[in-house]
Symmetry: C2
Subunit: 433 residues, 2 copies
Amino acid sequence: MVRRGEIIAIGSELLLGGRVDSNSLFLMEGLARAGVELRFKSIVGDDEDDIVAALATAVRRVEVVLLTGGLGPTSDDRTREAVAKAVGKPLRRRAEAVLGMRRQLTMWGRKPTAAQLRQGLIPVGAEVLANPVGSAPGFALRWKGALIAALPGVPREAEEMFSAALLPRLLAESMASGAEQLERRILYTFGLPESEVDQKLAGIIPSGGPIQLGLLASPLGVLVSLTVWGKSPRQVMASTRKQGNAEHLDKTIRAIKTRLASWIYAEGSDTMEQVVGRYLADRGLTLAVAESCTGGLIGHRLTQVSGSSAYLDRVAVTYSNRAKSEWLGVPARLLKRHGAVSPQVAAAMARGIRSKSRVSIGLSVTGIAGPGGGTKDKPVGLVYIGVAAASSTKRSGGFTQRFQFHGNRETIKLRASQAALNLLRQWLVKTGA
Amino acid sequence: MVRRGEIIAIGSELLLGGRVDSNSLFLMEGLARAGVELRFKSIVGDDEDDIVAALATAVRRVEVVLLTGGLGPTSDDRTREAVAKAVGKPLRRRAEAVLGMRRQLTMWGRKPTAAQLRQGLIPVGAEVLANPVGSAPGFALRWKGALIAALPGVPREAEEMFSAALLPRLLAESMASGAEQLERRILYTFGLPESEVDQKLAGIIPSGGPIQLGLLASPLGVLVSLTVWGKSPRQVMASTRKQGNAEHLDKTIRAIKTRLASWIYAEGSDTMEQVVGRYLADRGLTLAVAESCTGGLIGHRLTQVSGSSAYLDRVAVTYSNRAKSEWLGVPARLLKRHGAVSPQVAAAMARGIRSKSRVSIGLSVTGIAGPGGGTKDKPVGLVYIGVAAASSTKRSGGFTQRFQFHGNRETIKLRASQAALNLLRQWLVKTGA
């Protein structure tokens, strides 16, 4: 039996959109480990009746409901009141909730305000969930056969509370009931449109079988996800079906890797910048980057990785031609003859940043991010990427590659940064030790 | 009367999270213009029964339902089938749907594949909505008193279809029924925690009045939103209540601006980088940036603005001390005596990037993004920001400011980039012409 789950995110501002939903992936994976498949996600404003309605809908269709948000001290935090109203229990100030809050605030050298004391109100009969990293306590209760847990909206607080207080209980329940567990593998590809990935994978997953294939296109490439439900560890002791599914999954992953080959740049939760960083660190190589149209995005991405200072020496965002000449030594006549967006200038930028910084590898990007600045010969989205390496490496000298991207300024920058890091990755693989 | 709306986003991968929901804001604003208040947002996988369940829930609680996604050619696109099943009408291939698709594909020099012809299947009785920028047609129908519209999942296609085919109909309906319209104003603040913004605004909005206040904290600051419902233009001709609400809103905004003063950095849909860019462009000033711990993020953000090449000359991401010395002329003894993360080095970086680039203003950031690298004296999150200006400007020389940020590496980088741009903005305001 697979239990079904729903996340209800509470907050009028969440309806505005424009934000990354950074809670769901973590909670979804956690639920899956405990044999709960996330089936629905709902977003609802700070309206008490709307929260009650969402909760009533959820318990009709799932067995585990996670509420996030609306537990703060301000008057538009309505989750406590809404749950109490839905389940028909009054709110009472609970000593252990207030105690946990005081302890956390004391660590920060503060005392709870009158408003914060509201956070200690918990529906009668609910279990208090401690917040190890914030002031708002959560709570959990059973209603109409479903487990309902209220977690904070701040992703880090929701994650810590979920892991510490909720996951152990869910795991115990799933062990006891013999629930199945989800296994998911994710591969990331870059360089092929979604329809071509789909074609290349045609027939690889038998329809009606236990494996579900999902594709998701974004400017960073096409994500390939494989999902399979297997028996829980306890059941595995008495059967081999789980091994069967896992083996089947492994075999399918190997087949996909053969078909998609070097288009695959990462697996699991790895990012392109982590993969590239690992190659550089493992081989003791150093990198410097000369960016133009990406404006610093490649530097930003590389430095998202902790420890990147070991291989990243510097990044030059040479937006002006003068900067390209002064810092990278790109000859003025090259800029004049071929223009800043040209294979010649991309090559000179990569060579220039490498020799000026005295690093192993120079990477360069020059292009037109738009929406202005395009011409018939050099349209918006035209990008040249250059790689230059010391002559001591296997493939000496350097090379450039031309790309034509589509989309708005933001998308073109994102695609160009991904293409540059991917070109570097492919080159590192090809010339690998 | 305010009609209520719900968006149902369809796609198993959307449950994964980790993506920016870029459809909602546009659709929410469009609905509001037509007197429809977005009250719920639901996300559901590619499971036909789950889509049917979500649709059944939606028509019980709202009058306008927008479905996005699941209209593509692949077998996991189930929206057409689910809607047909829910409303109890069969699917039929519709000539106008296929025609529109052929026309779009012809423009791209392609013919519809067998799979794409599935996209021409529309529930009997539904109106076909043309897709001006993609191949998948949408459709709209009435069921149980609600208007249900199926739009593509690609944001640009959803927006174009909504604007061209759906909005005129919603506007006409709202004019006819005299529905109210939503007005929303948004202010962005930086530098105050949410609880302090809340305190500063205490009593400014009478409870029970027509104006709703919302606060949303993020690493970029605290967003303040004010929402009010007013009468439609047609009703306004016969009453003054709408003017009353709008005037009231203007007055409240002015009061908020007085209380939050220079913490407010932008209004409406402006970003910090747009505001800073406008100041620089208006005064004909040029900028160069020297980043360390932010790794290129400030450059990336500044260059998200189209036309930024007019004022941004270059950005140096000097991750290594050697780069700081070579490119910015930071004396080695300064680095040795005070360390790279110090007010002295921040000042030298700002002066250095300004004089090397010969621009009006130099901006610098140096700090510890973590998780490693912190000490007792210089903990993770410690950041110094420097501003250096030509002596010809009113406030000559330069200055530095110390910040202590909290959060993970990504959050610290984001906050540091925002603090740097905000410091520059405040300095530009103070020294303004």
